[in-house]
């Protein structure tokens, strides 16, 4: 399995302002300290070896969209955030090379940041595309139709040429899709959200975003740990610090990096991807949160195997 992150930011698409890019260039030039490079490739090699990710790269600003490549028969995509536009362009290129035009979507919920990319999803405008939208919400179709009403968007939903079907699932029933066994679980979020687990023989990926793990509900977390059990990769909502999540951001439906680490430790998961980054965070803020998560994991690891932690960014690929 291969997991591609097309959008990793929460709530709102963002892009760095000019002064943020200038600060990165200035830090890079200072680190170069007068060196001369024969070409851009040599300069890039220096940057990779000597600069932190927040300086030489960017975590990106597209809202949630994650592709899980599990076989040749169909695409599998979690959520339709603004990252979906880039996925659609990539999928169009791959279909031109022979990939079937079948798209299985798995919706965590229907908030705007998780569906806003669909009107810009190029394959939806192509008559040869088959789109199957898996959801736990019975009103998913209404949500997608509403955002393409004339007051919000110039192209109505009914003008889309793809064959589009909605399949509403119940949490207690797993199903087969895109070459994987898929199960879902209800999560704490405004109007509810759903986490998904994707299993293939010997491999498992969990997508769990927009999920709040409240202090008063800690008794129920054994169910979450069972859902994450022995997963090779858990993609987790880590939008806030725990201190924020239990105070100023209480009841907004999001989790923290330290709770994500603890759930993965208890579940025996092998790798955690920090996801749904706070839109006001700069790249340096996200890098700091990532570094702190690594230190926390080490501090509370006890006798367990090390949990590998990665910080998702737009464009990241993780082989499972």
């Amino acid at each position: 399995m291969l997991v591609r992150f097309w959008g990793t930011r929460g709530s709102l698409p963002v892009a760095p302002h000019a002064d943020a890019v200038l600060a990165k260039v200035a830090r890079a030039l200072k680190a170069a300290d007068g060196r001369r490079f024969a070409n851009e490739a040599e300069a890039a090699a220096f940057a990779r070896a000597n600069l932190d990710f927040a300086t030489r790269g960017a975590y990106g600003g597209a809202t949630p969209c994650v592709e899980i490549e599990a076989g040749e028969e169909a695409f599998a995509i979690c959520d339709m955030g603004s990252g979906l536009r880039d996925f659609g362009l990539s999928a169009t290129r791959r279909c031109a090379e022979g990939h079937p035009r079948v798209y299985h979507f798995f919706l965590s919920h229907l908030h705007w940041d998780h569906i806003m990319g669909f009107p810009f999803f190029r394959p939806a405008y192509e008559s040869g595309s088959r789109i199957i939208i898996h959801t736990g919400h019975a009103d998913a179709e209404a949500a997608l139709r509403r955002q393409q009403e004339a007051i919000s968007f110039p192209v109505p939903f009914d003008a889309l040429k793809a064959h589009i079907e909605f399949v509403v699932h119940r949490p207690e029933e797993s199903f087969e899709a895109a070459g994987m066994e898929v199960s879902l679980v209800r999560q704490s979020h405004a109007r509810g959200s759903f986490g998904y687990r994707f299993d293939r023989p010997g491999k498992a990926v969990v997508y769990s975003t927009d999920a709040e793990h409240k202090p008063e509900d800690m008794d129920l977390e054994e169910d979450v740990e069972a859902f994450f059990a022995n997963a090779d990769l858990v993609i987790c909502d880590t939008m806030y610090s725990l201190g924020e999540a239990v105070s100023l951001k209480q009841d907004l439906g999001h989790s923290s990096n330290v709770v994500a680490v603890d759930l993965c430790h208890a579940a025996g998961a092998r790798r955690l991807a920090l996801f749904h980054h706070e839109p006001s965070y700069t790249d340096a803020d996200i890098q700091r949160m990532y570094d702190e998560t690594l230190r926390y994991e080490e501090a509370v690891r006890g006798g367990r195997p090390k949990l590998e932690v990665v910080c998702a960014y737009d464009g990241l690929e993780v082989a499972v």
Binding site: P215, S241, L242, V246, V258, Y296, G302
Partner: protein, 109 residues
């Protein structure tokens, strides 16, 4: 995790030892809530002496939040004498912005 609590000159000092993790958080939370109720009844501050604690996971931290909610502003809960690991955890979680943290139990007032 072990737990001791003592009255100490106009304050209640609770001293957990060991680790607070997924195995022990319920016992920690139960003891802590009882100590908060005792402190509220006696109208004295509660000092949590962390010097014997190896570390605390998010389960323990969230138990602190529940204890603070239980106190309802009637008593102050102070965290005292965290080791280096606990100080790091309090900083990473930003719990050092939710609770007063002091270096020494005697400073905790």
């Amino acid at each position: 995790m072990d737990w001791r609590v003592r009255n100490d000159g106009g304050r209640l000092v609770a001293s957990p030892t060991g680790r607070v993790d997924e195995e022990s958080w319920k016992a920690f939370s139960t003891q802590l809530t009882a100590a908060v109720r005792d402190a509220v009844a006696a109208q004295v501050p509660l000092v949590l002496d962390l010097s014997g604690l190896e570390y605390m996971t998010s389960k323990g931290l969230r138990a602190l939040t529940m204890a603070k909610n239980e106190a309802g502003g009637k008593v102050v809960i102070r965290l005292a004498a965290p080791n280096e690991t606990m100080r790091r955890i309090l900083s990473i979680s930003r719990y050092d912005m939710l609770f007063p943290v002091v270096d020494d139990v005697d400073q905790a007032g």
